[in-house]
């Protein structure tokens, strides 16, 4: 099967066999405290609507959105608000969070009022999605209702379900597609209701033939939805590369997917939309893969947001031996943790623990100009040159050589035979240039 693809990219060791066949198991929090950072999404941090000492119920809103590009946060347990204070998040930063003491009663608040989908207006549907606190759960955390409100809804031609899951080791989307594919298709149909000119695309990599078969069977009577098979390659699930592979349209950093008539959402996000719009359930759980060669029993969990990472690691049998590195997310784009006492947020997709850390074991050497980074770059940049420019902080040349087009996928650092930290250099320069522009 030769799937759809893009130029560049890399083939890494996939590591998915560790957890691919492990059914999703429900995990209830063990640690008494659940921590909810107010900033789990791109945009303004949410504002607490509870006070210290208040009793909250499961599915009760504890922080509300602050403006349009923001998202509310719900408690996944019933209990007492213990504190509203700075706690460490997965990036290692102390950030304002609501701490809830679990009373283990799981008393539930009434959900979001919903009516049958065909009786609601589009605005009502989007409002439910906004109120449910749904954000891009693939990692970026962009509020979904903003994505679903483009300037010209009539000009959206494709709604793409990102089922690529190109990040090595991750199997949470895969398990979702195997276990609850009807929810994914139903969720995609809800989004299609918002855009009457759009076609739905389920984009799956060809290393998941069982998912392709299941989804194709489910969509046999869905004239608006098709399953497209992608070549297995990292970063196939990157928004720009995915849009190009499935529709042939290309966008750059100054454009939004909607400018190319596309809207992209990942599997977990679409399932969350289903839960919100059909069942009135706000976003308070997600699937997390706990994996890596340091984990004793790697598996997939359905966990409540706010759960401590240590609970996840414990539930997976702990570590075989002390790990060299623990990552929140997958090995290509995840954050290295120096402390595992951090909470699961809406965008935590995995905990990956490795016995060895190849980054610290391989100190960077001199660039030999081999061009492997150029071949691998999905944005078609010259990473080695951009990293040199970043070292000298030459803003003009960086912009001129399209450094701002970098998607920070990590392919260049992965492939570099001299082990240079290319992605890191380019990312830092890029973020500093963007921050400067924002100030102006």
């Amino acid at each position: 099967m030769s799937g759809l693809t893009f130029k560049g990219g890399i083939h890494t060791y996939e590591g998915k066999e560790l957890t691919k066949d492990k059914k999703i198991t429900d995990l209830q929090p063990v640690s008494p405290e659940l921590v909810y950072p107010l900033s789990q999404h791109i945009g303004a941090p949410a504002v607490p609507v509870v006070n210290v000492g208040d009793r909250v119920l499961r599915a009760q809103m504890i922080a509300d959105a602050n403006g349009f590009v923001s998202s509310p946060i719900y408690s996944a347990v019933s209990g007492t608000v213990k504190a509203i204070e700075n706690r460490r998040n997965v990036q290692g930063v102390m950030t304002m969070s609501i701490v809830i003491e679990n009373d283990e009663l799981y008393e539930e608040a009434p959900g979001i009022p919903v009516r049958p989908i065909n009786e609601m207006t589009k605005e009502e549907v989007i409002e439910i999605i906004r109120r449910a606190g749904i954000i891009g759960m693939g990692g970026a955390g962009f509020p979904t209702h903003v994505k679903l409100s483009p300037k010209n809804p009539g000009k959206i031609h494709f709604v793409i379900a990102n089922c690529a899951e190109c990040e090595p080791y991750l199997t949470s989307d895969y398990r979702r597609m195997i276990e609850e594919p009807e929810k994914l298709v139903a969720g995609l149909k809800i989004i299609l209701c918002l855009f009457e000119h759009a076609k739905g695309i389920l984009a799956v990599e060809d290393n998941k033939p069982d998912c392709i078969r299941i989804l194709k069977d489910l969509c046999i009577d869905e004239p608006r939805i098709s399953v497209k098979v992608l070549k297995t390659k990292y970063p196939q699930g990157s928004e720009r590369q995915l849009i190009y592979a499935t529709t042939g349209r290309a966008i750059n950093s100054s454009m939004l997917p909607a400018d190319a008539g596309c809207i992209v959402n990942n599997v977990d996000t679409i399932v969350a939309i289903y839960h919100a719009v059909i069942e009135g359930r706000p976003l308070m759980e997600r699937i997390v893969t706990v994996t890596g060669d340091a984990v004793r029993y790697p598996q997939n969990f359905r966990v409540y947001t706010g759960t401590n990472y240590n609970d996840l690691i414990e539930a997976a049998g702990g570590f075989k031996s002390p790990p060299g590195k623990i990552i929140s997310g997958g090995p290509m784009m995840g954050f290295a943790l120096f402390d595992t006492n951090v909470p699961v947020t809406k965008s935590s997709s995995a905990v990956t623990a490795f016995l060895k850390d190849p980054v610290s074991e391989n100190p960077p050497g001199a660039c030999i100009n081999c061009g492997r980074c150029v071949e691998a770059c999905p944005s078609r940049l010259l990473p080695s040159k951009l990293a040199d420019i970043a070292e000298h902080y030459d803003e003009d040349r960086f912009t001129k050589m399209n450094g701002l087009e970098c998607v920070e996928c990590g392919c260049c650092s992965y492939i570099c035979p001299a082990r240079r930290h290319l992605t890191q250099e380019i990312k830092m320069m890029r973020q500093s240039v963007l921050a400067k522009r924002k100030k102006k």
Binding site: N252, I327, A336, N362, A366, N369, G371, V374, S379, P417
Partner: protein
Amino acid sequence: MSESYNVSASPHVRSAVSTSKIMFFVTVSLLPACGYGIYQFGFNAALLVAVCIASCVIFELLFELIIKKRPTISDLSAVVTGLLLALNLPCDATWWMGIIGSAFAIIVVKMLFGGLGQNFMNPALAGRCFLMICFTARMTSFSFDGVTCATPLYTIREGGYVQLTDMFLGRIPGTIGEVSTLALLIGAAFLIITGVIDFRIPCAYLVSFVIFMGLFAGHGWDITYLAAQLCGGGLMLGAFFMATDYVTSPITRTGRIIFGICCGLLTGLFRVFSSSAEGVSYAIIISNLLVPLIERMTLPKCFGKGGEI
């Protein structure tokens, strides 16, 4: 607070291909040519190979110790330079010429410009050209079966007759590593299959060279003549093993094609119009100097601005 773990920016995995592995592959790919050279030219060839490799590594190590830099000899790039230099010497060269060439290649061309990755021309070729200027007579006298005789390239230049099969297999006078086209092609195939070198440079080099020779050498499209030109001299060694040196060739795909064409045209120009019959070394090091310009001219378009196709 619980335990602290290693942190670094993503990605947290690395490919298995490292600089030293690449250099090791290049060394392996040169073994057939090297082995054949030693088989044909005997003890002095083996001595030169050993002397060049050892002195390149030692010079690099000494230089780094003196300027108090972290030793980098484990990346094996000095081994490759030494081996290539030896393969570019005639078997009659003396061992001290090997040392002088290595010193020039490593200290002047490579280390003084900042070490691996910073040299602006191929160190081995620069070393050879340096020796050519210093010891012209010794560097251009080739013997075969103990008898000094003309190289096939010189013979055809003078209108003489050459045996193509001998040229292909290597039963001809020449430098240690350049004589056997067959052995070189085996090594080149290994490099292309393992993905170490890009086929663009050698292809552009050989094709443009053949076209130039067909047009300007005065023999028209005579297959035997063109085949002799391809198998003769250092062309195969240069096209597959030295023009493809990462550091001194462009990083962009189109740049590599342009670079190959430059090498091909210059080689043709030197072979047809200069007083010497050979010109591969000079063609490559002059093209090396054009690399920054070629790279600047061939900046690729990025994704979303036309580069995605």
